[in-house]
């Protein structure tokens, strides 16, 4: 068994009047996993203690991004960095900051914090940072007043000071700065 991290889709199943959101490949994960869903975005970050067979089964899915078990390893060369950026950005996870010296742990801790912001936004206002046509390049000025208020509420709930946020600030900048500022011992203990 080895603890590994994966990004995979979130799916919803409906039974009667109850909707349950769960990782797309629950059967392959077994019972020893925990996950952070990306708020209202259809993505899960999974931490799972898996067997080699389970890991092989999970990596066979084209919609699963698997991370090295050794979190101290760097992503590798330029090609690996480009691949990681492409995959993460496709999920609306800012990755332009990733370099060849970024370790897997640094990457995962940042991703978990991006997710945490969107989770809080979901909890407070049932919104996503990226609702509708919003992308990481969307500026604060392009958000509706309700979206700005909701985002500010989520950031402030983490103890962050938003006074430096301006109309030209992009969501990418906000998320990256938030990820760098949020202190979370529980997250760091898990990753």
């Amino acid at each position: 068994m080895a603890v590994r991290f994966y990004l995979m889709p979130k799916v919803a199943t409906v039974g009667g009047s109850i909707t349950t959101n769960k990782p797309a490949h629950l059967a392959e994960l077994g019972n020893l996993w925990s996950g952070m869903d990306f708020g209202q975005e259809p993505v899960y970050l999974i931490r799972a203690d898996v067997t080699p067979a389970q890991h092989t089964a999970l990596t066979a899915f084209s919609d699963v991004i698997a991370f090295p078990a050794d979190l101290t390893t760097t992503l590798g060369g330029a090609a690996a960095v480009t691949a990681a950026k492409t995959k993460l950005e496709a999920l609306k996870i800012p990755a332009d900051w990733v370099t060849t010296t970024t370790t897997t742990r640094e990457l995962l801790r940042a991703v978990a914090r991006f997710i945490a912001v969107n989770q809080r936004l979901d909890g407070l206002s049932r919104k996503s940072v990226f609702e509708g046509a919003i992308t990481p390049e969307t500026t604060v000025a392009q958000l509706t007043a309700a979206q700005r208020t909701a985002l500010a509420g989520a950031l402030v709930s983490f103890g962050l000071d938003t006074s430096a946020v301006a109309g030209v600030t992009t969501l990418r900048q906000i998320l990256k700065t938030a990820a760098a500022s949020i202190v979370d011992a529980s997250l760091d203990a898990a990753i």
Partner: protein, 193 residues
């Protein structure tokens, strides 16, 4: 009242929960056997409102269930949308018991899995703790799972029963000390992007 809160649900069959409780969704009554029992065909969420809970708190109860039922303690719950928060839920879909750490919203119309845990048995003493973004699930005092989630930062403790499942020996209180998430005081410098 003062924390810790506790309730052994002593009372006659069909009696209402005490005034310390608010039922955010569904319906819950005492069953005459010192348990609180669901009275609907869906989820019922009751929350202890006799005290205000700090952000970091726990809830525990014995969770009783039969096939196609579920029950367990909740934390950081509030009445938004008919009830939302975190629940440690013992569950039986008819194929045997299972246990999940989940988020719930819409009064139990939507659940999001946070962790699958080793199955317990009807009557197990389940406990869920929320400290910062950290969630801990315990069964009979032993930790059976941990997870992190930042969706809900505040709320109160309570319990969930699905259909006619029951709970007993509820207790809840502060975890004390600071949470795992420290308050961040540094200014966000947006030019750092």
């Amino acid at each position: 009242m003062a924390l810790p809160a506790s309730d052994t649900f002593t009372g006659s069959f069909g009696a209402a929960l005490s005034a310390n409780w608010t039922t955010d969704s569904g319906s819950v009554l005492l069953n005459g056997s010192n348990q609180a029992t669901g009275q609907t065909g869906g989820h019922s969420f009751a929350r202890w409102t006799g005290d205000v809970f700090p952000a970091d708190h726990y809830a525990e109860c014995n969770a009783y269930l039969a096939a196609f039922q579920a029950s367990g303690p909740t934390v950081r719950a509030d009445s938004t949308g008919g009830g939302q928060g975190y629940v440690l839920q013992s569950y039986d879909d008819g194929g045997g018991p299972a246990m999940y750490l989940q988020k719930f919203s819409g009064g139990g119309s939507t659940f999001t899995l946070i962790s699958s845990l080793a199955a317990g048995a009807s009557g197990d003493l389940l406990r869920i703790e929320a400290s910062g973004s950290g969630l801990t699930a315990k069964n009979a005092g032993s930790t059976v799972g941990t997870a992190t989630d930042s969706t809900f930062a505040a709320g109160g403790a309570g319990f969930n029963v699905y259909i006619a499942a029951s709970v007993d020996n509820f207790s809840a209180g502060s975890l004390g000390g600071g949470g795992a998430v420290a308050t961040v005081s540094q200014l966000m410098t947006m030019g750092a992007g």
